[in-house]
Amino acid sequence: MRVTLVFLLMFIFVALQISLSPLISIKEIAPNLILIFVFFIAFSFGQTYGIWTGFFSGFLCDTFNSTYFGLNMALFLIIGFIIGTLKVKFYRDNLFIQVIIFAITLLLYEIIYTILLWQFSVGIFFVNILRYSIPQVFYSTLISLFIFSLLRKIPLFATNH
């Protein structure tokens, strides 16, 4: 049952990211809804969920950007695996810790993505990090607070379930 719900939500989050991001973007900066979802699932249910949610979310994401097919697949998979491993080390009921770890994860994701994309062009790398990545981390973290609280309310995702 939980697996079905996770897959269903994954499709909804990908569709929302693709269709709604222009609507909710501020100065071309939109929150990374897919990463918020992958992070939540991995942090709440561990490695197995993290790996598969990361892989399939990345796959769906990449099908809409064929020039870099595989890049999000690999990055979301790694995030799913690492955050899933970290699950046991943190008290998952603490929303504050969850949001802090999410912000660090997103920042690392942005840095790695930018490095891979711009192939170590130092000037462009810093411009992109300052102009896009850091504001995006702030915006996504803010949105993640709301999404995490919302997802926790789903009975199947509750801690004691």
Partner: protein, 306 residues
Amino acid sequence: MLESSKKNYLKNFNFWTFVILLILSILSYTFKGNLRMDVVQGISSIILYPVEKTITFTKNIFYVYRKNIELSREIATISLEIQRCANIKKENRILRELYGYKPMNDFYLIPCEIIGKSPGLHNRSIIIDGGLEDGIEKNMPVVSTRGLVGKIIETTQKTSELLTLYNRNSFISAVDLRSRVQGIVNWQGGRFLILEDVPLHSDIKVEDTLLTSGMGGVFPKGIFIGKVIKVEESPKEIVMKIGIEPFVNFSLLEDVFVLTESMTSPLMEIITPDTSNAIMVQLDIFETIKNPQNFGSSLLNNLMTQ
């Protein structure tokens, strides 16, 4: 004991699953050129198309009223402009004939709605609701009423992915409208595009307009790209550094037109999703696009006369 071995087994199983999937992802990235992306996109678009379409439809309902007011205002302005352009258009046609210029190719316009933008901030591509069923194929140029948007890179039955100017893989041969200096338009991060390969001391000034040069065979000659906003010359370099601001505002873009080359008809057609209801529109892209506004005005004028 049993619990611990089960935990270890799961840990090992997860680890090897992770390794296998990671290798698969890296291989996909490395060999993406050899993958049948149309098949991959076809599968995901079948699953996500209804959800995206519903979201876009709901989103559009809220925009209809505002858009209606905006368009009514725009039509009033454009109507006046059309009257002025009609004469110029006639003169242009006569002069071309007098000079014995070969008639230019005509194009069909396929109107499409944007149903999604690829996630992430960098190298964005756009998903539109037209595909093979509507006659859209790879490498077809895509424009908006303001100018060039990009080109189609993948198509499925119902949707297509287009590569915008804001993509590192986008290289467009451009020409300066005033001085005819040529260069390559590319994006290297940031808000503006770059005009590359322009030799030092070339006649390029701020506020100059750039059009597609027609070289390369993908983009037809004369489509508006953007205006020059920054020109830098350094004695240490052999080329100039030129910043371009595209005419199209990509964050506000909602509708686009895919250009398909006409084989027989001298007219430009707008093909509605149901091709049997194609609207015939007399529009010569090269003559009407004297500035980005004219492109929209000619289009609206022809639509109104239907």
